[in-house]
Amino acid sequence: MSGRGVPPGWEENPTSWPRRLQVAALAAAGLLVAGYLTLYQLGLTGGVWDPFFPQGSPKVLRLFEPVPDAALGALAYGTEIVLSFVGGEDRWRTMPWTTLAFGATVFAGALVSVLLMIAQPVLARAWCTLCLASAGISLLLCGRGAEEPLASLQHLRRVRDSGGSVWRALWGTKGGG
C-alpha cells in the first residue's frame, strides 16, 4: 500500500476529506439553485430571477408542469451531500458502496442535465439561466466525482482477483483481499 489511503497506482487519494468537502460545497451550491427553482415551480415565489432570459425561465420551468422537476435535482444534490459525508478518508476501499452510490448519483445527474440542456431549446423553445447553471454544476460534480467509484471498482477487481468476496468487500467487511 503506497501511502495512507492512496489507491495503488494513483497520485492522490480520491476520497480524501479536502476533495470530498469540495464536492459537497459544489453540491450545496447546486442544492441552493435547484431549491430556489423548486420554490418557483411550487408557486411559493412570484417570479424567478433570470438576468439573461427573463421571458425564458418561466417557459422552461413550466415545461413539465405540474411535476416540479427541479425538486428531483434538489433531491440528487442533497443525496450527494449526504453521501459525501459517509465513511472515512479511505472509504474507496473500506466502504465501496458509498462511492458507487455517489458515482451513480453524479452520473445520473450529469446525464439528466445534458438531456435538459437539449430540452430547453428543443421542447420549451426558451433558455433558463439558473437551469443552465445547475446543469453546469452537475457536470462539474460528475467530472470531479468519477474518481471515487473508479478507485472502488479497481479495488473490488483486486479483491476478486485475489480470491476474496467482492460482495463482502462492497459493504466494507473484510473481503479477504
Binding site: P7, P8, G9, P14, V122, C142, G143, A146, Q154, R157
Partner: protein, 105 residues
C-alpha cells in the same frame, strides 16, 4: 448550443445544433478530469455528424459553414489531450483487465 439563436437559423440545422451542443459540452467538461478522459472521444462522432449533416439535411449557407467548421475542429480535437490514466491507477481499463498500473501494465 447557441449557434441557431446567434446565427439565426432554424429547422433541422437548429435541431441538430441544439442536440449536438449539449452532448459535446457535457462529455468535454467531464473529460477534463483523468477519470473520465476517455469520454473526449464523444467529440469524434459528434464532429463527424456535424460534417455530414449540412449535405444530408440541406442547411443554409451560414449554418452549413458553422457546422463544417465546428465539426472539423471537434473531430480533430478529440485526438488531443489524452493520457492521465497513470494518475488514476490505469483507469477503467484496469477494472476490466484486472491490472492496475502498479503491476506495471
Amino acid at each position: 448550443m447557441a449557434a441557431p439563436g446567434v446565427l439565426g437559423h432554424g429547422g433541422a440545422a437548429a435541431l441538430s445544433a441544439h442536440v449536438a451542443g449539449p452532448v459535446v459540452l457535457g462529455s468535454s467538461v467531464v473529460a477534463l478530469w483523468p477519470a473520465l478522459r476517455p469520454l473526449r472521444w464523444v467529440a469524434l462522432p459528434a464532429g463527424a455528424w456535424l460534417l455530414a449533416a449540412p449535405p444530408l439535411l440541406g442547411y443554409g449557407p451560414s449554418a452549413a459553414a458553422n457546422s463544417l467548421l465546428v465539426g472539423a475542429a471537434l473531430a480533430a480535437l478529440a485526438f488531443a489531450g489524452g493520457g492521465g490514466q497513470e494518475k488514476v491507477g490505469g483507469g477503467w481499463r484496469a477494472v476490466l483487465s484486472g491490472r492496475t498500473s502498479e503491476d506495471g501494465r
